[in-house]
């Protein structure tokens, strides 16, 4: 039986290690946490095998046979030595695990040894994230998260309304965005690519759709992106913007990402629109409700969303702040875009 147990444990551990549990291992932190997980699997499987093994063994060999209906087992009341053993061994194992956990925790939270660490402010709001950058004194924000590969980043997480939770599964780290305080964690991304950003704390209707993208770029490409973002033209669209020189508004991008300067939430966070590829399920599906509607209706719906509500939806869910957060040209561009899409 002991041998069967050992074999089962080895197989169980092998299985536990073979299963591809985690998403991409995208950060230094992820490496340590994944190793920690392997250790946990190695410790856990034998415990489970032991308990299940004894249960199965007893069920098989100590099962009542015909003719034993009136038989009782031997009256064993206890065994002090055994009881000490199974108190002490788990206690020692657990304390060892706690110590290891503490070391890992210390590792994944410590500041980089040298150099200035990049700080990015993460703002949660129903139901989108925006990211505020401060690159060498140049400030700008973005609805998509961009970070360079191989450098430690510290995220300072805030919220504009209720609790959210900033989580990039590929980086393994997460923390709540809490009203009234700023929370933080740091990661060192080590893998190029794009990864989902997920809200992990229930934040209301659109919680499930509060997903965005993190881009990990090579350093040079990141620098180029920063340059583009901090150039006055790119960010200037929203500012004042009445002059004829204002660049054309990319309505589709606006729909998908929102207006990051003023914090206007992305329409696509809540509305489904096939053309923009958004899946939000909080508000009405625009492909359907906008069929046959005119520009005036669409404009009114953006600026004054509570005036007329699609059947099955409630007042007060769509923000009524777009009239303040979007410029005239932006609204017009959106209306034009939606009108075109609806007519298709």
């Amino acid at each position: 039986m002991v041998i069967v147990g050992l074999i089962a444990s080895v197989l169980g551990i092998a299985l536990g290690l073979v299963i591809d549990w985690f998403p991409a291992q995208g950060s230094e932190q992820a490496k340590k946490i994944d190793t920690f997980w392997d250790v946990l699997i190695i410790c856990s499987v034998p415990v489970f095998v032991l308990v299940t093994g004894v249960v199965l063994y007893s069920a098989r060999y100590f099962r009542m046979r015909p003719g034993e209906e009136n038989l009782d087992g031997p009256p064993i009341h206890g065994n002090t030595r055994l009881e000490v053993v199974w108190t002490a061994i788990p206690a020692i194992m657990l304390m060892a695990l706690c110590t290891y956990a503490y070391l890992v925790l210390h590792d994944i939270e410590k500041a980089p040894a040298a150099g200035n660490e990049r700080q990015i402010q993460v703002n949660g709001q129903q139901f989108t994230w925006t990211f505020d950058y401060n690159e060498g004194g140049k400030k700008f924000s973005s609805a998509q998260l961009y970070v360079p590969e191989g450098e430690s980043v510290k995220f300072n997480v805030k919220t504009r309304d209720v609790l959210h939770d900033f989580w990039v599964p590929a980086w393994r780290m997460k923390i709540d965005a809490v009203p009234g305080i700023t929370t933080n964690y740091r990661v060192t991304p080590i893998k190029l690519g794009t990864y989902p950003v997920v809200c992990a704390e229930l934040c209301g209707l659109g919680h499930a759709f509060m997903r965005q993208t993190a881009h990990v770029l090579p350093k040079a490409q990141y620098a180029a992106w920063v340059k583009k973002m901090s150039a006055p033209a790119a960010g200037g669209a929203a500012a004042g913007g009445a002059g004829g020189a204002a660049p054309a508004v990319d309505a589709k991008a606006l729909f998908q990402q929102g207006e990051t300067q003023t914090g206007a939430t992305a329409c696509g966070g809540c509305h489904k629109l096939a053309d923009a590829g958004t899946a939000g399920g909080v508000g009405p599906e625009l492909d359907q409700v906008l069929k046959g509607k005119d520009a005036a209706f669409i404009k009114e719906s953006i600026l004054n969303p509570n005036a007329e509500i699609a059947a099955g939806f409630d007042k007060g869910i769509m923000p009524d702040t777009y009239s303040k957060l979007l410029t005239g040209p932006e609204v017009d561009a959106l209306v034009k875009y939606l009108e075109e899409v609806a007519a298709k």
Binding site: F62, H77, V157, L163, G206, A208
Partner: protein
């Protein structure tokens, strides 16, 4: 919302004696006019007989199990595919909130109180609970809570949708439905506190002569420990919900950060109840399993004293671990370390219990009937839940899997594979005593195996998608999780169907099952020494306890004898000794 339930309770007569007292009428302590059931109709009136109340509690709770289960089916239907199919986001959030709240506050906690209500006074040789009228009131508070929670679906803006945790400030700014939760919890909480006080007083003052604390069956110990937890912890959730009520209705700023409120305070107060609450939902199950294992393995419980002490250790430690639910909440980071250590330590007494149960099985003469199968299923499944619990205690891992489907898997391994399995074990085990009928063994076993298989098929894959990055409480998810979610949904429908076997077995056996003898399991504890179902006042003669409750295999061992004058009477002869044929 407050007034209606009270009107209902007064209408039922739950407060009659309070009015008698206030009006100066005599209140007769020996008034038994509302004691005992005369027909099935008696079960729909306030009754002071603990056996009637126990059955009321149990049946009422199972009704809510099915309601809550139905909501789970709806959720799984929606989650079978990514995207939106059956319900909108608001309804979905309402569904998981009401599902969890109903199953916690109207199923697990009260069903344990119900089973204990029936068997505990019998087990310790008492004629009833200490406060029969309070007992009736505790029960009738529950339908108020249940109806409120279900009625929330009709509130403008939908039912409460901020989870059973009702975190502020989402809850304080939610539509009206949230108040149905806030207020329902007060009723459910008042009910559990009153019952817990009742248990405490009953256990302390009404034990039969000779029943010292260390001769009590472990079920009594388990309910003693649970009641301590309830009495100390429940006021905290009441408080947390009153804060929400004040914020919501009167514009207090407890949790409004802009006005000096503190959002994390809500979580601390909430978990200071809700962590002990998970032991409230587990310890009575430990008691049930101890009874079933000893009787079905025909052996004394291994390490009885350690079993009792480990319960008390869990009670004390249970109050020192609450912030392990808050590792990613943004609280002061140093608090995490002591909370991790205490959480790990609490696994030690729990481990002691598991190992003692295993040792109890060892070399027994094991009867693998339905209650035993559920008890063994509990041992293995609860171990899984315990292991994932220890993993979650480890901060670096919890940072990744907190608020994911890994948590959902863990919750269900402890609540379904743990608590619910012990509840099934207990219901099958005491079914003959409660109803006077035998259940159908074949259907019982079928129920066990279908439940066991589909339970694992439903919840084991949730570990994988959780670690892989699927957050919990979402109506929609990334396409990469689609395959597993479909598997889970299909398995969960089978799991739902398997509960129909149980429902059928219970209803059919209650109506037409074979008559049960007094002691079909040859058990030693006192409840089995009286007829099935027991006489109206439990014991015609006061029992005297002369030995431990689990002396199986000890030749001539006796737990209790009836009437000191006539120890040799036929009825008093205990079952369970080697030579003796089964009673009757």
């Amino acid at each position: 919302m407050f007034v209606l339930p009270f009107a209902f309770l007064i209408g039922l007569g739950c407060f009659d004696y309070w009015f008698y007292w206030a009006a100066g009428k005599p209140t007769r302590a020996e008034d038994h006019s509302s004691h005992g059931a005369t027909s099935w109709k008696s079960y729909f009136h306030p009754n002071t007989d603990h056996k009637v109340i126990g059955i009321q509690y149990t049946v009422h709770s199972f009704f809510f199990l099915f309601v809550g289960g139905l909501m789970a089916m709806l959720m799984r239907a929606e989650l079978a595919q990514p995207g939106r199919q059956f319900v909108d986001a608001n309804t979905f959030n309402g569904l998981f909130s009401v599902h969890a709240s109903i199953l916690i506050f109207l199923f697990i906690i009260p069903v344990f109180a119900g089973l204990a209500n029936f068997v505990l006074p019998l087990m310790i040789g008492a004629p009833d609970m200490a406060f029969p009228r309070l007992n009736a009131l505790s029960f009738w508070l529950l339908p108020c809570a249940g109806v409120l929670m279900l009625a929330s679906f009709f509130a403008p803006g939908g039912s409460f949708a901020s989870g059973w945790t009702a975190y502020a400030p989402l809850s304080t700014t939610a539509p009206l439905g949230q108040m149905f939760f806030t207020i329902a919890v007060q009723f459910a909480g008042a009910s559990s506190i009153a019952t817990a006080l009742n248990f405490l007083v009953t256990i302390i003052t009404m034990r039969a002569p000779g029943m010292s604390f260390f001769r009590m069956p472990l079920l009594a110990w388990a309910n003693f420990s649970t009641s301590l937890l309830v009495v100390i912890a429940t006021p905290f959730i009441a408080a947390s919900q009153f804060f929400v009520l004040l914020d919501y209705a009167l514009g207090f700023h407890f949790f409004d950060a802009d006005k000096g409120g503190d959002v994390l305070m809500y979580q601390h107060v909430f978990w200071f109840y809700s962590h002990p609450a998970v032991y409230i939902m587990m310890l009575p199950g430990f008691g049930i399993v101890s009874e079933v294992l000893a009787v079905k393995a025909r052996k004394p419980i291994f390490g009885y004293r350690m079993m009792a002490f480990s319960l008390l250790a869990i009670v004390v430690l249970g109050f020192t671990v609450w912030a392990h639910h808050m590792f990613v909440s943004g609280m002061q980071s140093w608090i995490r370390i002591p909370m991790m250590v205490t959480t790990a330590i609490i696994a030690v007494p729990t481990g002691i219990k598991i190992f003692s149960w295993l040792a109890t099985l060892w070399r027994g003469v094991i009867r693998l009937d339905t209650p035993m199968l559920f008890a063994l299923g509990f041992l293995t499944m609860f171990t899984c839940g315990g292991i994932s619990g220890v993993m979650l205690a480890m901060i670096p891992l919890d940072i990744h899997v907190s608020d994911t489907y890994f948590i959902v898997a863990h919750i269900h391994y402890v609540l379904f594979g743990g608590s619910l399995f012990t509840i099934f074990a207990g219901v099958y085990y005491w079914f003959p005593k409660m109803t006077g009928r035998m259940y159908d063994e074949k259907l019982g076993k079928l129920h066990f195996w279908t439940t066991f298989v589909f339970f694992n098929a439903t919840f084991a894959p949730m570990h994988i998608i959780g670690v892989n990055g699927m957050p919990r409480r979402v109506a929609d998810y990334a396409d990469q999780f689609a395959t597993w979610n479909l598997v889970i949904s299909l398995a969960s429908f089978c799991l739902g169907l398997s509960s129909l076997i149980f429902a059928y077995n219970m209803v059919a056996s209650w109506r037409g099952g074979a008559r049960a003898v007094a002691n079909p399991w040859r058990a030693l504890t006192l409840e089995w020494q009286v007829s099935s179902p027991p006489p109206v006042f439990n014991f015609d003669q006061v029992p005297t306890v002369v030995g431990g409750p689990y002396e199986y295999g000890v030749p001539g061992a006796v737990h209790g004898i009836f009437g000191p004058a006539a120890p040799a009477e036929a009825k008093a002869t205990p079952a369970g000794t080697h030579a003796q044929p089964p009673t009757e």
